[in-house]
């Protein structure tokens, strides 16, 4: 089924900035966000008063008992606009998973409709103080949690362990196959001066020595919680031509949501495949291209098994084959002709920046701003979250 998509290649990224990715800034997240926002706006050749749209998700990603304070542990679009002295024509937050593709989609819609002329998309991530990031001391399992918390099925680790094990058992994948993903992400992340893992690659022995948390998922399958901020400036394709940087066009975006009623955080493999296939269909239909046209896929890896799932649902390899594809060198960023699916280091190689590492690598490479790591690429895809509730964006050097 062909979908009409009036926004195809009508919007471009025209500037960006990001902070270092660190364990803790040691100061309020919002202060860093304001600095990064000002820098990104200047990078785009604009002044803060030119920016009239603000789109973002402010979610503080933790299942533990942490307070959310705007400007301190999270940053909303309205808060950021206010600090920049802007009364925005359009400011809105994305509520779902896949926060970065979702925010880009809001920005594209605002720009194509004329609700805004220049939109700042930001993501500010915070690592709460203390070691027990995902832990809770609660003894009352209320609401949705009554169905899973008394059993000990709580937070993202059992969630991803259950999904990863279903994949491994069904398709014959092993811990070594998971390790191949993590080693590739950390290799690329070690090359990034801003990364929390800069100069810290690992090998498969390091991976296999890491403690299991929720089988088959071990500590190194999980991205490191961090403080970090990234901002991107988007405008219409027409306006982009008047600005200093080479535009990177948003060819299409797509997302989806689970269709089956499940327990909280229960993600059966078939649910992921089924909804993920529809997200992929929407994405390729709206972009007018297919997986064979993509030379820079950047697949989400907040937990390593997501890389297998995105490879399969987007059609980069057959269902059930991704673990063999990766372990066989299929995504090695140093092998000519391979799919460099984690060349930007991903979340495992940068820190828990949600979809930022994927979007950042797509932008920097397609804009010709990747420095010593510059690759020859013209069509890229940035993914975020699980294929059955997250999203993806196709970027291109020229309008498709």
């Amino acid at each position: 089924v062909k979908e009409g998509f009036a926004a195809r290649s009508k919007v471009a990224i025209v500037g960006y900035s990001h902070s270092p990715v660190v364990k803790s800034f040691g100061r309020p997240l919002g202060a860093v966000a304001v600095e990064v926002a000002r820098d990104a706006i200047a990078d785009a050749g604009l002044r803060p008063q030119d920016v009239d749209g603000f789109c973002a998700s402010a979610l503080l990603p933790t299942s533990g008992d942490h307070a959310s304070v705007d400007g301190v542990t999270m940053v909303t679009p309205n808060w950021l606009a206010a600090q920049l002295g802007v009364n925005p024509r359009y400011a809105t937050g994305f509520q779902g998973y896949g926060q970065l593709p979702g925010s880009v989609a809001l920005a594209v819609n605002a720009l194509v409709s004329g609700a805004a002329d220049y939109v700042l998309v930001h993501r500010a991530l915070h690592n709460p103080v203390g070691k027990s990031y995902n832990a809770s001391g609660r003894l009352d399992a209320r609401g949705d949690l009554q169905w899973t918390m008394p059993q000990g099925f709580f937070g993202p680790l059992p969630m991803i362990g259950m999904l990863a094990n279903e994949y491994c058992q069904r398709h014959g994948a092993t811990r070594e196959d998971l390790g191949a993903i993590v080693v590739e992400a950390r290799k690329n992340g070690a090359r990034l001066p801003w990364s929390v893992w800069h100069d810290r690659p690992i090998d498969l022995d390091d991976y296999l020595a890491a403690p299991l948390i929720s089988d088959p998922v071990c500590r190194l399958d999980c991205d490191m919680p961090v403080d970090g901020v990234a901002c991107f400036v988007l405008t219409t394709a027409e306006r982009a031509g008047d600005l200093p940087n080479k535009p990177v066009y948003v060819a299409a975006y797509a997302g989806g949501a689970p269709t089956r009623h499940r327990l909280p955080l229960h993600w059966p493999l078939d649910d992921v495949y089924e909804v993920g296939a529809e997200t992929a269909r929407r994405l390729w239909s709206r972009a007018g291209i297919g997986p064979g046209d993509v030379d820079l896929p950047q697949l989400y890896d907040g937990f390593s098994p997501f890389v297998w799932l995105w490879l399969e649902v987007l059609g980069f390899c057959p269902v059930g084959e991704a673990h063999r594809f990766v372990s066989g060198g299929g995504i090695d960023s140093d092998v000519p002709g391979a799919l460099p699916a984690l060349s930007g280091g991903g979340a495992l190689g940068n820190g828990r920046m949600h979809g930022v590492p994927q979007m950042l690598e797509c932008y920097r490479q397609l804009a010709g701003r990747a420095g010593a790591r510059q690759r020859d690429a013209s069509v890229a895809v940035a993914c975020h979250a699980s294929p059955h509730l997250g999203g993806a964006v196709v970027y291109a050097t020229e309008p498709i």
């Binding site: 299942s63 027990s132 832990a135 009554q146 299991l212």
Partner: protein
């Protein structure tokens, strides 16, 4: 088992937990379309009824393992001494892929396989509440 999170029943879920305390697995059924729904939701996920008026009916408690994981780190109070904890994702027989997640009792994860037959069991907490869990079914009683 001390100081573990205990379920706090809401306006809908009381009969589920009451049945568990009595050693029975009783699942919500929409009174409009009669589908088994878990967890019960404000609008019936099967038929869209906005007044599903759930009726909790006992089910066999038999099912098959669709996946499992082994918890080796406790994120909640009261689990540390029990580690490793095996959690199984079970599709209940006679339903449209209705899933429950619970602890696998009396057995390690070694040798577990997709499709293994299980039957409901119960964990008993110190406060008297019972939490649905599962145990491997005797050989030859494979469900669905």
């Amino acid at each position: 088992v001390t100081d573990r999170p205990v379920p706090v029943p809401d306006d809908t879920s009381g009969p589920f937990w009451q049945a568990a305390d009595e050693g029975r697995l009783a699942v919500a059924h929409c009174s409009v379309c009669h589908h088994a729904i878990h967890p019960p939701a404000p609008v019936c996920p099967a038929c869209g009824a906005t007044e599903p008026a759930y009726v909790f009916r006992a089910v066999s408690g038999r099912g098959v393992v669709r996946s499992w994981t082994v918890l080796r780190q406790a994120f909640l109070p009261g689990f540390a001494d029990d580690l490793p904890v095996v959690l199984v994702d079970v599709a209940l027989e006679g339903t449209d892929d209705l899933r429950l997640i619970g602890r696998l009792m009396y057995a390690p994860a070694d040798g577990l396989r997709l499709g293994a037959a299980v039957e409901v069991a119960f964990e008993h907490l110190d406060d008297g509440s019972a939490i649905p869990a599962f145990a491997l079914a005797p050989e030859g009683e494979a469900a669905t």
